[in-house]
């Protein structure tokens, strides 16, 4: 188990390094930051001075070397726009996104387990048929369209909910709902499938022959086995929420990491782009490692391999 885990962490680290190199060079393709940060009529000397000051004049490999050197010292650079260390800007935005994602993922996962298990209990029953149509629709709904339509309906027409911004409970309803819909739809289908398999397994027969109560047969004996494939997909979906966050945060004006990434790319704020991608990558890879641990905890057969 320990060996397995350290192997996973090592390969994750390699992935982060690879990603990081890619981001550094890709960011430089977006153009010269000087064009954005200086007035259009800025004289050549001023431009030169700006580039000189931030090191944009140096050959790209020198910039990269400097960047790596700084990184080793824990310095992720300085935000041009915010005029603060990039890492501070990112660490301020990250918890906002994480709490949004955590709430959304928790709702999606528990909702899916309950709906999927009930659907699997009587395959092709009324509940199963309805949940299948609804979950398929949910899994294939485009979130940007849903978000805009929801704003039109609930904020503009009905005036029930705020259009954007962060605040108390009403501000959370739309962004969280939009983030929940796709993973929920997908997970319901996965839970349903794996629970049908689990409920028709032989060990479920044994449990029933033991006189175990039906509730316990479903939610203890079958679910613990049925959860295994669900966890894999849920982990995948948790990572995908980072994608969803870019759209949802932009539309609803949430000051999270998704919005920060978009803004910093548009503003050619290289240090912030790099820092936010690095932190996001670390978060996603951590989620993957957590998934592996959860998998091994739930399935002793993996633990003993």
């Amino acid at each position: 188990m320990k060996k397995y885990l350290s192997k996973r962490i090592l390969s994750s680290l390699l992935a982060v390094i690879g990603l990081f190199i890619m981001v550094f060079f890709l960011a430089r393709l977006t153009g010269d930051p000087g064009h954005l940060y200086l007035p259009i009529d800025a004289p050549l000397e001023v431009r030169k001075e700006f580039s000189e000051k931030h090191g944009f004049n140096d050959p790209i490999y020198v910039q990269f070397g400097r960047f790596v050197g700084d990184l080793v010292n824990g310095d992720l650079g300085y935000s041009l726009r915010k005029e603060r260390p990039a890492i501070d800007v990112v660490l301020e935005a990250m918890p906002i996104t994480l709490s949004l994602a955590a709430v959304a993922m928790t709702i999606a996962l528990f909702g899916a387990i309950i709906i999927g298990s009930l659907a699997a209990y009587r395959p092709n029953g009324v509940f199963d048929r309805i949940s299948r149509v609804v979950s398929l629709t949910a899994a294939s709904a485009p979130d940007f369209w849903l978000a805009i339509t929801a704003i039109l309906l609930f904020s503009v027409s009905l005036r029930w909910l705020p259009t954007s911004g962060m605040g108390g409970f009403p501000y959370w309803i739309m962004p969280v709902s939009i983030l929940v819909i796709r993973p929920l739809g997908l997970l319901v289908q996965v839970v349903r499938g794996s629970m049908i398999t689990a409920l028709s397994s032989d060990f479920v027969k044994t449990a029933r022959a033991k006189g175990v109560k039906e509730k316990s047969v479903i939610f203890k004996h079958a679910l613990r086995n049925g959860l295994l494939p669900v966890i894999t997909v849920a982990g995948d979906q948790a990572a995908a929420i980072a994608n969803g966050a870019v759209i949802v945060e932009t539309i609803f004006g949430w000051p999270g990491i998704g919005k920060l990434m978009i803004d910093s790319i548009l503003q050619r704020d290289f240090a912030v782009v790099q820092a936010s991608i690095l932190i996001t990558a670390i978060v996603i890879l951590s989620i993957n490692i957590i998934i592996d641990i959860a998998y091994a905890t739930l399935d002793p057969r993996i633990r003993h391999k």
Partner: protein, 534 residues
């Protein structure tokens, strides 16, 4: 009055059908039987005879739909349990009546440790707390002779051997001291020596707790060893019932007679004269050794002569399959050689290996897994000719497939059908036809009849015997079942822990076994004819 009190379970006029796309199929058609205190009732029948369906009905675990109980009553202590509410029924299950299944790896929950699965019985029915029920679970594991029960209770099903898992299953069934235990093929997946121990344990517990035991089996030897009364099922109907001795010694129904006559190992024919050991062996195994983490096969030596059937017998883990894989050159040995017509197969170049592959064929145990479900019989049998392209002209494929199907007792029209349309025995015939396709010299049968019912087993064995004479074949016949080997083979090799402990002519080994292990094997393998006269 006393007689009535002793009846634990009475099944009367039970009929069950399954709804399928082709209409309802009657699985059980009006069966009646009774179980008395302290008795063992064996329900004998082949796959599809309705014996497990009957057990499912009694245990309330029949899937409905597609299953449907059309009529009948099941009286437990003079109460028809089929009429009880779900909740009242649930309180009986595991409590008054419990079941032991065959495939313990699938029937124990893989994600819970065995202790908690046994302890659950006490939590469900007796409202005991975790600690009390855990201690009781450990006591039960000790009762069924699991060593180090206290630590092993925390282990998961996959960490136990098949025999131990069956003990865990028995401990679970025993937990609440039920009046009745149903054992559904409890030893089918186990080695003979372990089978004997499990059957002894069940009989001992039955006497100790005055339980009634229903033993469902297709193995007549197992029935003979444990049963007081016997019910013979065929196609969902009881064809014969009575005491063990009456049914086994004076069977009346033709089906029962056929079953009794297909029991392997009634007679040993002397085969010493038939063999011509003066000629050179076609296959000679010398000092063959294979190490994995453990020693799988250790200094194995034997010869195979032309037109000979050599039996290799041993329990799981004895190295039989490793030897077969080495001879087939599917794996390489750690040391030692295999000479085929005097030439070491491990020195073969590509061309020699290719022609060796044609001359040595194999038939595997599980005909459900070894035939590609997406290929029809014609494609399955003709595939070797596509690989060995100069063996047969393409225009002759259809004719040859028909000939082969006829020689294994199938219909030429079967060529266009797919494996799932055949029964287990028929599929094994297809596998044999495929092995014959390239006119081999040696066929290795790796537990080729172990998965089949007795009467089908007898048919396949007769077929193999006929084919040997017809095509002058040699077989290496690997089995864990001694009686089967006795009927078919000329010489036997007995293996244990990777080593050959004894080898010789079949009558010598069976009549005068020298090695203690061979003696144990013979003792453990229930012989129907000795047992019913006990």
């Amino acid at each position: 009055m006393n007689k009535l009190k002793d009846t634990l379970l009475k099944v009367s006029n039970l009929a069950v059908s399954f709804d399928t796309v082709d209409g309802p199929i009657d699985a059980v058609q009006g069966i009646n039987f009774e179980l008395k205190k302290g008795q063992t009732l064996a329900i004998i029948g082949e796959s599809g005879s309705g014996k497990s369906v009957t057990a499912s009905v009694i245990m309330g675990i029949l899937s409905c739909p597609p299953g449907r109980i059309k009529s009948g009553e099941v009286f437990l202590n003079n109460q028809d349990i089929l009429k009880l509410s779900i909740e009242k029924r649930r309180k009986l299950m595991g409590n008054k009546i419990a079941i032991i299944f065959q495939d313990t790896l699938a029937h124990l929950n893989p994600v819970f440790n065995v202790g908690s699965q046994i302890a659950e019985c006490f939590q469900v029915h007796k409202n005991l707390n975790k600690k009390e029920s855990w201690n009781k679970a450990i006591a039960l594991l000790e009762r069924v002779n699991i060593p180090n029960a206290r630590t092993r209770a925390k282990d998961f099903p996959h960490q136990f051997s098949g025999g131990q898992r069956q003990r865990v299953m028995i401990a679970m069934a025993l937990a609440l001291e039920p009046d009745i235990i149903i054992a559904d093929e409890p030893t089918t997946a186990l080695d003979v020596t372990i089978q004997a121990k499990i059957l002894d344990l069940l009989a001992e517990l039955r006497d100790e707790r005055k339980m009634g035991l229903i033993l469902i089996t297709h193995d007549l030897g197992v029935a003979a060893e444990t049963a007081d009364n016997v019910v013979v099922l065929k196609n969902g109907k009881i064809v014969e019932s009575g005491t063990l001795k009456t049914v086994f010694t004076t069977p009346k129904h033709p089906y029962t007679k056929q079953l009794m006559s297909s029991i392997p190992g009634r007679t040993i024919k002397s085969k010493k004269n038939k063999l011509n050991n003066n000629s050179d062996p076609i296959l000679e195994v010398k000092n063959l050794t294979k190490h994995y983490d453990t020693i799988a096969c250790d200094d194995v030596n034997f010869k195979l002569y032309a037109n000979e059937i050599l039996g290799v017998v041993g329990e799981s883990g004895s190295g039989k399959t490793t030897v077969s894989n080495l001879i087939l050159r599917l794996i390489n040995p750690s040391s030692g050689n295999v000479f085929y017509h005097g030439k070491n197969i491990f020195d073969f170049d590509k061309k020699e290996l290719f022609s060796f592959r044609r001359r040595v064929q194999v038939v595997f145990q599980d005909p459900f897994a070894s035939l590609n479900p997406t290929m029809n019989v014609y494609n399955l049998i003709s595939e070797p000719w596509i690989i060995h392209s100069n063996f047969l002209d393409k225009s002759l494929y259809a004719k040859r497939v028909s000939e082969l199907l006829i020689s294994v007792g199938l219909d030429p029209d079967d060529a266009s059908r797919y494996p799932h349309q055949f029964s287990g025995g028929q599929r094994q015939r297809i596998a044999i036809a495929r092995a014959l396709a390239l006119n081999p010299e040696i066929i290795i049968c790796d537990e080729a009849v172990s998965a089949l019912d007795v009467s089908i087993q007898a048919q396949i064995i007769n077929l193999l015997s006929d084919l040997r004479d017809k095509f002058s074949l040699s077989y290496i016949f690997i089995a864990h079942d001694l009686p089967v080997v006795r009927d078919l083979v000329d010489r036997v090799i007995v293996m244990k822990s990777g080593k050959i402990v004894e080898q010789g002519f079949v009558e010598d080994i069976f009549n005068h076994p020298n090695h203690p292990y061979t003696q144990d094997l013979l003792k453990a393998s229930p012989s129907v004819f000795n047992l019913i006269n006990r």
